[in-house]
């Protein structure tokens, strides 16, 4: 316990947030020693004594009696966490979670009532981060017993949401404001809401943020890691809302700012950016882009090739092949629209094959092309239906004359350049 409390003092002397945060981290290397250093009857007294001792051991004093009490609450809660983690053969995660809740709430109170300064925000981050982790473990344990909910994670989300408000609504002068913690906490909330499949709650957070935007420091002055994560989630939220242009904006920014070695994060971003670009610009990922990401490459590259070649059968096959993963990532329903682009490219090939100046092409030619490329004999009516859709969406300029069984294409630019339409 002494080393922990000594680190507490040192962190305060140095205003070292990371070190202070490490004193309540579950990965703290003294966790076990701390767990065995006292018992439940004595813990409150022992911790207060230790804090008092360090507080008075040298100048300057760290805090007054109230301040010590606030910290004592934190470490007593942390001790409960440590002992439920370290002192049983089988960890009871529900119990750890109860301790973690007390810990996080004590930390939030510390910021709210005891004037903890902004350099100590790491403590809030660490508390919330592990609160979420422990909640998930606790829920998983319950689920293993057959219960089917994320009750504890939901509870954690409510507490983290309070941390969010404590950051967002701090009115102190900017240099000393907890507003600097907002984005880290938001990202944690997003992560939690996504796990809970409660994406609408993320939108509420964004609304609260927008309402406060004038007093917020510019997003770009936050830590890059915070920005990237934030932009990624904003992008995915817009994507799920089918607001693809907004999604493109967010995801592109996330991709650009993403650390060059953070391959996994880049993959996460690309997972949504690729289908987005397919819809907004009808842009396909290049081989070079996908090269560093073998798992994405295996799924997206053949698909992109089929779209380009108008290879309907190949497209259907590769879409089906990746379906499980696409569905899991919620991009299947968007990628599926790539079939239109495949068709458009196929029809364009028919047009090119007919000769440059030909504007009247029999529907039957298109039918033959679709039958060949999809491997199924399609009816004339179905091909007409495809053509009608293409024209309706502006992929093809022209009209169908049913009487003559002809497609009459526009003399100029019958297949408008994809990136300029829609």
């Amino acid at each position: 316990m002494e080393s922990l409390i000594r680190a507490w003092r040192l962190a305060h002397v140095e205003e070292n947030g990371k070190l202070l945060a490490s004193t309540i981290s579950l990965t703290n290397t003294d966790l076990e020693e701390f767990a065995y250093s006292t018992n439940s009857a004595r813990v409150a007294e022992d911790i207060f004594r230790a804090l008092e001792y360090e507080n008075n051991s040298a100048r300057p004093k760290i805090t007054n009696k109230n301040g010590l009490e606030a910290w004592a609450e934190v470490y007593v809660a942390f001790w409960k966490v440590s002992q439920s983690l370290e002192r049983y053969d089988e960890v009871e995660w529900g119990q750890v979670f109860t301790g973690m809740k007390d810990l996080t709430q004590a930390v939030i109170r510390g910021f709210q009532n005891s004037g903890w300064e902004v350099w100590a925000l790491e403590v809030l981050y660490t508390a919330c981060k592990y609160l979420r982790y422990v909640a998930i473990r606790a829920d998983e344990a319950k689920r293993a017993e057959g219960e089917d909910a994320w009750k504890q994670l939901e509870e954690a989300a409510r507490i983290i949401n309070r941390a969010f408000n404590v950051c967002l609504n701090d009115r102190a002068e900017l240099a000393q404001s907890r507003k600097w913690g907002t984005y880290y906490i938001i990202n944690l909330l997003f992560k939690t809401y996504f796990k809970l499949n409660a994406i609408t709650l993320s939108k509420n957070i964004l609304k609260a943020l927008v309402a406060n935007t004038t007093e917020m420091p510019d997003l770009l002055s936050f830590r890059t890691s915070d920005i990237v994560t934030f932009k990624y989630y904003c992008g995915v939220i817009a994507f799920l809302d089918e607001d693809y242009f907004k999604a493109e904006e967010h995801l592109e920014m996330a991709y650009k700012l993403c650390h060059k070695d953070a391959q996994k994060n880049k993959e996460l971003i690309l997972t949504y950016l690729i289908p987005t670009k397919l819809l907004t610009r009808r842009q396909l990922p290049s081989a070079t882009l996908l090269k560093p990401h073998p798992s994405l490459e295996a799924l997206f590259l053949p698909l992109a090739r089929c779209i380009k070649d108008g290879d309907l059968r190949g497209y259907d096959e590769y879409l089906a092949k990746g379906e499980d993963w696409f569905v899991k990532k919620r991009i299947f329903l968007t990628l599926e629209r790539g079939r239109d682009i495949t068709l458009r490219n196929l029809f364009r090939k028919v047009y090119l094959a007919a000769g440059e100046s030909k504007t009247r092409i029999p529907v039957d030619h298109f039918r033959a092309a679709v039958s060949w490329k999809s491997g199924v004999d399609v009816e004339t009516e179905e091909v007409e239906c495809f053509l009608a859709n293409m024209m309706y969406k502006g992929y093809i300029k022209g009209y169908i004359s049913r009487e003559r069984g002809m497609v009459v294409l526009s003399g100029t630019n019958a297949f408008p350049n994809p990136s300029n339409t829609s």
């Binding site: 002494e2 080393s3 000594r6 040192l10 140095e14 205003e15 990371k18 070190l19 945060a21 490490s22 981290s25 990965t27 290397t29 003294d30 020693e33 065995y36 018992n39 001792y53 051991s57 040298a58 960890v91 902004v118 350099w119 925000l121 790491e122 998930i136 473990r137 909910a149 994320w150 240099a175 000393q176 600097w180 990202n187 992560k191 996504f194 499949n197 994406i199 420091p217 890691s225 650390h259 953070a262 993959e267 996460l268 798992s295 569905v327 299947f332 329903l333 599926e336 629209r337 009516e381 179905e382 239906c385 009608a388 859709n389 024209m391 309706y392 009209y399 169908i400 004359s401 049913r402």
Partner: protein, 507 residues
């Protein structure tokens, strides 16, 4: 509270971090030098030499999880022997051979694309090499001093960096960004993975029907403890419960079974939906308050759902559907889960609920993907998604079970969408017959009625064309739709039809 020797070195831990407790001191003065010296006699039983701790850490470091228990036993034996022979302080643990089980290679599998766990979204990795070094316990003899020395050095570094500010508003955490606390805790991207390994994580399967459960579980809470009914009247009007149910007015299952038979007969004979719906609701209520969840319950909900479908009462249908999803997921025998899953897919098409659609697609098992009704529903979904109205209306005419009734709920919408595309693309007109056939109308009259209903009647024109050749040439009347003119009408009607659907009881 004495720790057994093997416990003190991490009995519950899969892998042991190279941590060494800092000796108890009351001053910040010079660090003591006792680290690797044998401690006093009293502490001997419970304390480990640092080198031994490093040895334990090394043992668990590469230990495959399936060998863990074996390794633990071996390790316990080695250590206990060392304590008993009093050799614990004399063995050179750094070169002591590891237990054999720990030396077998382990396979490390990690899911690359798991978005939901860990800290992976923050791209800056915090000096994993340093962590590793500590973890491996490379410097087992001087850690005691190290901790404090490091901190002090860091402290002085911070003081010199304190005035740094390179942006307009300097971020408060800037000054500490160079800090490295890896000597004290393992933060960074893989912190959670370490915890996962330390406190073994068991895989659990995810159930996609969780939302139904949470809805349902409200009724299962102890406040609504099951009662057993005593009523024997077959028919009962539905009343929303505002207080605890009275057993005198609740019918037990054997009575409810008779009620169901009665209702089935009455429905066939009278076809009075408002009466039937009311009776079924009270029937369902009696089931709920008595916590009856069995094949009979499933049967009741399925019958009510089908009747509601037939009458196009989607609100009531949906309530039954969500209860059914819950009952199916509890693996209650009986019932037709495939049939109702197919309905659910069609229903989600109607509500345009993309995220739930995604969930249901994710939940389909290979067996379900072989089922005729589900295959049909999936084909309908595909046709709607790709705008393939030709295929869509074929599927409409060929819907299994009661899927056709559900498709009725959005058939008009799809017809308007198809008409918009047709009017945009066909010039100068399109044969009326073609529309009747393509849009799944039963006959021309029905098609005409539909067009008139959407204010497009005036665009139906009769055109005279010649047919046949030579002497047999004759004038024929041909009914067509003037596509260009009708375009805006259908566009507007389509937009109105696709406006958000809102149904009570929708989930």
């Amino acid at each position: 509270m004495t720790t057994p020797p093997w416990r003190a070195a991490g009995g519950t831990a899969v892998q042991r971090p190279g941590f060494h407790p800092v000796a108890v001191r009351k001053t910040l003065g010079k660090a003591s030098t006792q680290a690797s010296q044998p401690p006093t006699q009293a502490a001997r039983r419970t304390q480990f030499p640092d080198a031994l701790k490093a040895y334990v850490a090394r043992t668990f470091e590469h230990c495959p999880s399936e060998n863990k228990s074996e390794v633990e036993v071996a390790l316990k034996k080695i250590i206990t022997e060392a304590f008993e022979n009093q050799t614990v302080w004399s063995i050179d643990w750094a070169t002591h051979p590891l237990p054999t089980a720990a030396r077998r290679a382990s396979v490390d599998s990690s899911d690359m694309m798991d978005i939901s766990s860990g800290d992976e979204a923050s791209p800056i990795s915090q000096q994993p090499s340093v962590n590793k070094l500590n973890k491996l316990g490379k410097a087992p003899n001087n850690t005691n001093n190290n901790v404090n020395n490091n901190k002090r050095k860091l402290g002085s570094r911070i003081t010199s960096e304190r005035n740094e500010s390179d942006r307009e508003v300097s971020r408060p955490d800037k000054r500490s960004k160079k800090l490295n606390t890896s000597d004290y805790s393992y933060e960074g991207p893989d912190a959670f993975k370490r915890l996962d390994r330390k406190y073994k994580r068991h895989q659990t399967t995810k159930n996609v029907f969780s939302q139904y459960h949470s809805m349902h579980s409200a009724l299962d809470s102890p406040a609504f403890a099951p009662i057993v009914g005593r009523s024997t009247t077959l028919e009962k009007r539905y009343l929303r419960l505002t207080s605890a149910p009275d057993p005198a007015t609740v019918r037990p299952q054997h009575v409810l079974e008779k009620t169901l038979e009665l209702l089935k007969t009455k429905w066939k004979a009278e076809n009075n939906y408002s009466y039937i719906c009311d009776q079924f609701k009270s029937l369902r209520q009696d089931l709920t308050v008595q916590h009856l969840k069995n094949d009979f319950t499933v049967n009741v909900y399925e019958i009510h759902a089908r009747i509601a479908l037939e009458k196009g009462d989607l609100g009531e249908y949906n309530q039954c559907q969500s209860q059914l999803a819950n009952l199916y997921s509890e693996r209650i025998p009986g019932g037709h889960p495939h049939e109702f899953k197919a309905y659910r897919i069609l229903y989600l098409l109607y509500t345009c609920n993309r995220s739930d659609m995604n969930d249901i697609l994710a939940s389909l098992t290979p067996a379900e993907k072989q089922d005729r009704a589900i295959l049909h529903a999936l084909a309908v979904r595909g046709a709607v998604a790709s705008g393939n109205f030709h295929r869509f209306f074929r599927l409409y005419l060929d819907a299994p079970n009661m899927g056709g009734y559900l498709m009725d709920s959005f058939i008009d919408r799809q017809r308007l969408a198809a008409l918009s595309a047709i009017c945009k693309s066909y010039r100068p007109d399109v044969p009326f017959r073609h529309i009747t056939e393509e849009l799944g109308f039963e006959n021309d009259a029905e098609c005409e009625a539909f067009l008139v209903k959407h204010n497009a009647g005036q665009f139906i024109k009769t055109k005279q064309t010649t047919k046949g050749e030579g002497d047999e040439q004759q004038m024929v009347d041909k009914v067509t739709l003037e596509t260009q003119k009708a375009m805006t009408t259908f566009e507007a009607a389509k937009a109105a039809a696709f406006k958000k659907v809102d149904i009570k009881g929708q989930i």
